[in-house]
Assembly symmetry: D2
Homo-oligomer: 338 residues x 4
Amino acid sequence: MRFASDNTSGAAPEIMAAILRANEGYERSYGADAAMERVTALVRDIFEAPQAVVYLVATGTAANALAIATHCQPWGAVFCHRHAHIAEDECNAPEFYSGAKLVLVPGDEGKITPDGLTAALASTGESGVHGVQRGMLSLTNVTEAGTAYTPAEIAALTALAKAKGIPCHLDGARFANALVATGASPAEMTWQSGINVLSLGGTKNGCLGVEAVVLFDPAKAWEFELRRKRGGHLFSKHRFLSAQMEAYLTGGLWLRLAAQANAMGQRLVQGLRDRQAQVPEAPANMLFPEWAAGKHEKLEAAGAVYYRFPAPEGRERARLVASWSTTEADVDAFLRAF
Amino acid sequence: MRFASDNTSGAAPEIMAAILRANEGYERSYGADAAMERVTALVRDIFEAPQAVVYLVATGTAANALAIATHCQPWGAVFCHRHAHIAEDECNAPEFYSGAKLVLVPGDEGKITPDGLTAALASTGESGVHGVQRGMLSLTNVTEAGTAYTPAEIAALTALAKAKGIPCHLDGARFANALVATGASPAEMTWQSGINVLSLGGTKNGCLGVEAVVLFDPAKAWEFELRRKRGGHLFSKHRFLSAQMEAYLTGGLWLRLAAQANAMGQRLVQGLRDRQAQVPEAPANMLFPEWAAGKHEKLEAAGAVYYRFPAPEGRERARLVASWSTTEADVDAFLRAF
Amino acid sequence: MRFASDNTSGAAPEIMAAILRANEGYERSYGADAAMERVTALVRDIFEAPQAVVYLVATGTAANALAIATHCQPWGAVFCHRHAHIAEDECNAPEFYSGAKLVLVPGDEGKITPDGLTAALASTGESGVHGVQRGMLSLTNVTEAGTAYTPAEIAALTALAKAKGIPCHLDGARFANALVATGASPAEMTWQSGINVLSLGGTKNGCLGVEAVVLFDPAKAWEFELRRKRGGHLFSKHRFLSAQMEAYLTGGLWLRLAAQANAMGQRLVQGLRDRQAQVPEAPANMLFPEWAAGKHEKLEAAGAVYYRFPAPEGRERARLVASWSTTEADVDAFLRAF
Amino acid sequence: MRFASDNTSGAAPEIMAAILRANEGYERSYGADAAMERVTALVRDIFEAPQAVVYLVATGTAANALAIATHCQPWGAVFCHRHAHIAEDECNAPEFYSGAKLVLVPGDEGKITPDGLTAALASTGESGVHGVQRGMLSLTNVTEAGTAYTPAEIAALTALAKAKGIPCHLDGARFANALVATGASPAEMTWQSGINVLSLGGTKNGCLGVEAVVLFDPAKAWEFELRRKRGGHLFSKHRFLSAQMEAYLTGGLWLRLAAQANAMGQRLVQGLRDRQAQVPEAPANMLFPEWAAGKHEKLEAAGAVYYRFPAPEGRERARLVASWSTTEADVDAFLRAF
């Protein structure tokens, strides 16, 4: 009944086993380890992107901030949803690394709409040297609201950005969950839909701490390496990052872990709806249900852990996140306590 | 015969076991894990510093850059040895995080001398608003040259800094090796000798990737936390950093690992001197021997791995680093191949 | 008929005469000139603020960016109107100097409302280390919409900020125009209403290029000086800044210049209203009238210069700004051509 | 007898007259004034550089910092003399604007030598991602020691830089004085000798406050404009910068003013040598004489103003700077008082 966040879970056994294997003997440091070459090959294969360049860091904030800084000038605007993680939960890291300004785009259910983006693009970058220039689009999938963009939705937004000449980033802290939720392929969800650079999350979905940044255009590779080092994000014993990401992407483990998380998310959605809770669209592993007041105390007394969210008078809201390690028994215990 | 760097070693078994144990069940994220409280208690006890505040990051560059940014204003000068890691090997990370300027102080064998520091302090910060202000002193122990400062040497330098009103940082990427080499206690080497903030290395000495920043004055604690997050260095599954550091500091493991590294370093020093190599002072686990030309090829053919350094005509120089995992057999094989 | 901006005017004769006088002989550089002492004395007297510290720079963007950087940490939020000059017209200078994030507050007619600010203050700085912290409030008077805050309105907003422990900045690029429009005294409009630091504009109101930053609390004085120098904004021949500001503040010149600008603004307002144009509240020297389509071409053909603004179908909108050098003849010619 | 600095002089009459003329009527702001076009044409003509792009700012620190930031990445090294103005007198402004690190190159009499630069280039940028990359060369002419590089000397240094693929900046705060001292043409001293970007000083040599940044390659033009605005260095009443620079460059005024300053510098050199003072090479308007102790008090009592410099026991040293406004009578009075 631990639904506070998918990052309160541990690491999957396969990941831990890979860490142990990686610990044998000596290995070159700072990303020159043999496993990193295999990671790159795996990403290129899985994403059908033979030119892609891949780098590993240990936190999602580092992945996002470095991806943005590498693609957006200090006088640029990063268009993102007003509740994006980069806007609300990274303590100005994107601004610190890039110097850019985040321009917040409204939109229901965590999604930027084409109309919203069109308006933001129109009102930014049209005042010469006085205002910020259009710099970049950053989307998040799974969104902060627990919804998922389809590739078509992403393509519609990136087309607007590209019409203005700016590149597109996807914050995929829960990228595997988005793939499972939509049935899209990695390529469809990214470069085939106009994404130039991806933060590919591992930590929330069963790793200890690793995120890949995938540059679909290799032109920025060296700059990224310098920015990573200058940010203090280049690991000396890099083999332990590589090992996680290699195991994660091998044999579909990442998708199996996400499938379990999503299935448990759906079991929560269904069970709560069956019990008269209102549950907005939540196709992946995160949901924001609302119910008649009085449940919070009861659930917490029974041992459930999750975030309370503000709700109207007489109502209660929650954020529940399932993870790769959530079991049917966890879900069912929660529903019984409800 | 892998002497390229102590960061080409893996993790010690005790550290790996702790990682495995830490993986049980759910745990609070972002540093609120129970193990972190134990780490803080361990550091306070070991350093005889009940007010100390401790934070964990995964790289030495992050530890140094954050420690410096927290103690030095953007218009300040960080006085450091001209070959300090922060000056030569961190791709401007200290400048990126702090905005400050590094003022390079000369000195033989990797050590700043009181005279050198006095001169640097005198020629900086005396031109009002035009030049940078005196900001901070940063020392490294074990130094980049493989030598070690004694507490008395550190105290002599920090006294000069404090006479000018500036705080003092110690880059202890190899802090345990310095303790073993000098016989000093953690307290003697740090706050009792005028150090305000310590980068306490774990990675090079048997961890996977963890460094502690120890603030002996808690006034800067919250600022440090914000800077860590803003730099993307706050781990969500922080338990895996805590587990490493807890195991490292428990029961003297860190000192045993360093003792092994240093012993193997001394075995190399002695063996090479026995074989007519010149070996400058090298009390810890890193040495820069010089020998008559012709050995590099022979040693490398035998499988030895290390860095070649520039040498005078007819001579060769090397950097050799022993680690916690270096064995007598490794050393003896190297000496036989010499 | 030049109404594009008050910065298309030249300098007032009294200012130019002061520049000429200041050119006599030799003078100490970098702000140590005798006239700067007189400027400080004038500001302290006029603002009834004997502790105030005053610094001069040459652009409004520099004044704002330095004032903000001196009062807001890099992890802080600057609350400002969504159309504030610092948000829309300074190409990220405030972010560049401070590292902070601008949090945009909505509000009609260019004014932040207490409700809007309360909501913004409530939704920022409540997520621990993850989000930005509350950093500062920045108001603009005259606002970007041409309206003016009264001291009571300012006090109501700063009280909300101070209840959260954050300081308050006033962007007074048109501060003299705001005083004239409201009848408030300099003290009432600033520190008596909770303002900690003021950008006091001179350029738009008859100077060549000078803005004063007034720190009502001298504790930040030295930091400001370092930031000004580090930003390249400390003039060597500083006497020419001092001379402008001294003449500007002497004998009420600044208020006479603003009174003329405002009077011409009001003459435009009245004349346009008499001719059936809609003119939103515009108590100072800037107005945004709207009229039936067809006037733009006619006015511009007659030689009028101003900015066109987007308008609904069948309508036209304009921004008109009067300055100290606008004459009744200018206004009347415009109205005749209307 | 005011020899403290050329920036304690006022503005030349021709410059002041231009300011007055520029004050007529209305003019477009932010660099769109007609005079700016004429300034660009003048620079292109004088420098025989029809592609050159020219921007104006008000301080030398701004000119240098912006020129460097536009040509050097944040992970780059700026090679400069260890006593360069950008290193010692700009309070980290170059680092603030660029993020880069200054690598200090030794050299007698304020000049970088080819050997010194070769060594610095060799020891920087050879450690992959760990150290800073080679970024830029920045020379100063007239140097901080009062000496002047010839075009051939500059070309020898820029050739070394270009062999490593990095661009070259010339800090010409006293550029006109260097031209007069060497007899070189503007083209010979800059692009024909490998200079990519020039800070062309006006302030010290008879302007109120204006410096031109000349980009000999227009590719960076738009980036420079954005950086200037983001730094708060774009003047709204830009006409007053243009007017100064136009008058300065028209009809050889800048060279006449520098010729007067240099002639007075030489009169000081000769007069002091005649009186047994030691005067190191000083071909322009700044000298660092040394004499037997006892003169400082006497000179200052007679009204002389200049900077004392540290000297060996029994000796005294001074920095004397002549300007466009220094007269023979000033010099002769000083020499009589000596």
